[in-house]
Symmetry: C2
Subunit: 294 residues, 2 copies
Amino acid sequence: MNFRKLKVFTTVCDCGSMSGAAKKLYMTQPAVSQAILELEEELDVHLFDRINKKLLLTYPGEVLLEYARRIHVLVEEAQSTMKDIANMNTGKLRIGASTTIGTYLLPEIIRSFGQKYKNIDIPFAIDNTGAIEKMLLENSIDIGLVEGPIHSKDIIVKPYMDDELFIICSKNHPWAARKRIGPGTISDQNIIIREQGSGTREVFENTMSKHNIPYSIKHVLNNTEAIKKAVEANIGVSVVSEIAIKEEIKSGRLVKINFEGVRFLRKFNIIYHKDKYHSKLFEEFLGHLCSGNF
Amino acid sequence: MNFRKLKVFTTVCDCGSMSGAAKKLYMTQPAVSQAILELEEELDVHLFDRINKKLLLTYPGEVLLEYARRIHVLVEEAQSTMKDIANMNTGKLRIGASTTIGTYLLPEIIRSFGQKYKNIDIPFAIDNTGAIEKMLLENSIDIGLVEGPIHSKDIIVKPYMDDELFIICSKNHPWAARKRIGPGTISDQNIIIREQGSGTREVFENTMSKHNIPYSIKHVLNNTEAIKKAVEANIGVSVVSEIAIKEEIKSGRLVKINFEGVRFLRKFNIIYHKDKYHSKLFEEFLGHLCSGNF
DNA sequence: TAGTAAAATAATATGATATTATTAAATATA
DNA sequence: TATATTTAATAATATCATATTATTTTACTA
């Protein structure tokens, strides 16, 4: 018993004759007769009575026909669904992003991609870079967007976009009115910054030590929004990605400071497992990221 | 895509490896690899990622697995049901019977057969012999039990049992006390009898005219039970099959009369279409009828 | 650095499933 | 009543799907 024989069987039932079914299936009549015979021998039942020249289903024939139709419907549905997946009419792509990207970039990326490809499910996880890397290695996400460095050699890292961190202060802070600020001045300030392990903090500390600028940290907050509010309230100054403060800079609630001769630069990266098969959907998402149309 | 490839696919998913699946399916690893490859090419999707040496389902792979499992369950169920039918653990046999047989014999036949073969569905129809013959020709029943003659040459007729009709009267009727009754005496009686077309009436009239016995009919009832009640009430005498009056004779409410030199004999027949396939169940039912174990 | 295990690849063998040709049986048609 | 016509069964053979064997590649392990 296989799908082919069941298809022949249902067609014979529909046509009421072997030769009719043969014509419909573009095969010869003996092939049809043989398929039915094989079914009957294999299942040890008679499927048809031939009364008055017509083929009439026996009881086991009727029962088998019911099953054959149900099986056929399922198979058709499976094929149609797979076709939809192949054509990207449906699908799933699991994204992971580190905190800053996940908070300030990913929502719009997913929204615009979802607009282009309806019925695509895009579950996403937001965590620090190390956790996102681990998820990739465990195959619990397909693509990652991270700000920090990747250690596994099994992961392919592609530059996504450049990011810059800026020192920020309140509009009421003395710095807000000044044009040129020497980096050494920061030693007098109350510095608010993200926790250890944060990519933002890592870039800040590395850059500061590279330039031998002394500083001391006053407040540690594991939440960029909380930091922004604290800075707005003039509790201190901080350093954050430019993508996190677009609104506040525009409205003037926060002020971006350029230290003379010091820039906090880093790259956002796209990461995926080297063994990952690049489905059409996968490639489309990468293309969407690089197009920047969002 | 066919059952074989889906089975290979689900086994690979269960085992987590191609060679493991090969072992489980008693085939070689290349055969498994090839089946998976063919599935992927045919459906135009990748089913597995090979990350960290392990085979991991892709999204389309997960979707296909769902369908494959559901299809597999249905196929198994179909095969198991057909096996049940082949072994007569389940089945269906459609019986037709003419009125007298259907009323007085069939219930016990079906009850005892059903006791021997549980889960066998035995729908039955009761009508006159001509209607039962027509049902056989239309294949709306499988086996008929009739008292009248069959006209179609496409129907096989096998004698089932001999039947005899008897003149009956009430225990209060003058005949009840007499031993010998000449058939001519009936011309004085109020005769109650079944309608035209009834097998019982046909045998009665044929036999009477064969012996040139004059008679006149007073009451016509299309229901043997009604006739028996009327005779019990001494409204008249009638003629009925011996199988219809066992209880009443035993209890003495009715009395069987033997006309000297006249017997109303007929045969009950088993009928079925000459082209009908004789399934095991069919043969078992015929055997049950002939065994008389009920 | 060799050894082991899993999977891919290629060549070939086997088995399932076609086709062609023919026969048989039943109907329809002249 | 004889003669096409239709339908299905049967047998011989051809073709295609799917198996095996042998080999290579790759990654992991001792």
